[in-house]
């Protein structure tokens, strides 16, 4: 079956087809996924499980769970890992490049336009008018994080943790990286102790 298919497309190497498909799949995910990586996961699922059948439901679920255990942007972790899993090192590079380069170029284009005309007063006012909208977007994101915190800890404990974080970072001006590293240590210390005992 596979041989028949490849002999039909006499000019096309199967490896090349695979790379073209990886490129197309993650290009579509990148260009259609509004709202950052987490909101593009259903699109990745559509391409990888439904369309190209590179993974079954279970493997995709495992990959997603695995990606969630690691820090960093989720969209590129998924793209890079799936590219690697399907077509090795170059598959990984391919998937990453098609998912980030087009959107970075769009950023340069749009922000370049704003920069080029930024000395005209009404253009200045345009970019100033965006600031409150971003404040609202960040406020909504804040609310989501607070709501999820209270769902997993309960209101009282969540409020205490929020207050503690506020004091550490905004009053004592401890770098967020240190605070997050502290969280990592607190969570994994009991695990290490338990393993030593066993």
């Amino acid at each position: 079956m596979v041989e028949r298919l490849t002999s039909k497309d006499t000019n096309v190497h199967p490896k090349r087809v695979l790379h073209r498909n990886i490129g197309l799949a993650f290009f579509r995910v990148g260009m259609l996924g509004f709202g950052g990586g987490p909101s593009s996961i259903p699109l990745v699922h559509l391409e990888v499980v439904k369309k190209y059948k590179w993974m079954d439901e279970e493997e995709f679920g495992d990959t997603l769970a695995l990606a969630n255990t690691m820090p960093g942007p989720i969209g590129t972790k998924m793209a890079g890992y799936i590219g690697y899993r399907v077509a090795g090192f170059w598959g990984c590079i391919n998937a990453i490049i098609v998912s980030i380069v087009p959107t970075v170029l769009l950023m340069l284009l749009f922000l370049g336009l704003i920069q080029a005309y930024k000395d005209i007063p009404w253009v200045q006012n345009m970019s100033a008018a965006v600031v409150p909208v971003v404040a609202v977007m960040l406020g909504v994101l804040t609310y989501d994080f607070i709501k999820k915190s209270s769902e997993s800890f309960g209101w009282l404990k969540a409020l205490l943790l929020l207050a503690l974080s506020a004091v550490l970072m905004e009053v004592l001006h401890i770098h967020p990286a240190i605070v997050i590293l502290g969280c990592i240590i607190i969570v994994f210390l009991p695990l290490l102790k338990r393993r030593k005992k066993e």
Binding site: P73, C92, A129, V130, P132, I146, S149, S165, I184
Partner: protein, 175 residues
């Protein structure tokens, strides 16, 4: 030197941003605006606004753009590499070990415990942006734009890109 700074500025959010790209926005702001002063709050808010309006992963859009602004194409590549590579390499390299721990309660606890930290970072960024807006376009316009965009985004579920375009039009007309 600038390349090393760019690497560190994006490596830290990349390696500590649990919960995907959006949770690394305040960490990126901390480095880019707070620590290195490459941008002021308004410039950074333009990057977030345009980033939110365009498709694709948010952290890499910001890294690619800020890297390019500071140090050209190579800067862009360095910032993107620092954002993407560390966690991806860890994921591919530690696949076998991680598979064992993917359902461990500690992993879920970690994401839970970091959430309030990110919430506070986001909350203070929100306040900072609101203050910046009042300084830029005045209290009246700020309140109007904030209420209008909150209603459009959350109540009427209008796409963020469209809300940004409306804000740009409002700015052009009132300017």
């Amino acid at each position: 030197m600038i390349y090393w700074q760019l690497f560190i500025a994006f490596f830290i959010p990349g390696i500590l941003g649990y919960g995907g790209g959006p949770s690394s926005i305040p960490l990126i702001e901390h480095e880019v605006v707070g620590k290195y002063g490459w941008m002021n709050t308004q410039e950074f808010s333009e990057v977030v606004a345009i980033g939110n309006s365009l498709p694709g992963p948010i952290a890499t859009k910001m890294a690619g753009y800020i890297g390019y602004e500071e140090a050209g194409i190579l800067g862009s590549i360095v910032a993107l590499f620092a954002t993407v590579a560390p966690s991806l390499i860890m994921m591919i390299g530690m696949m076998a070990v991680l598979m064992k721990y993917k359902d461990a309660p500690e992993v879920k606890n970690l994401t839970r415990l970091i959430r309030p930290v990110i919430a506070i970072l986001l909350a203070f960024m929100t306040i900072q942006f609101a203050q910046e807006s009042v300084a830029g376009i005045g209290l009246g316009s700020t309140i109007f734009l904030m209420v209008a965009s909150l209603l459009l985004l959350e109540k009427f579920k209008v796409h963020p890109a469209f809300v940004i375009v409306l804000a740009l039009i409002f700015g052009a007309i009132t300017g």
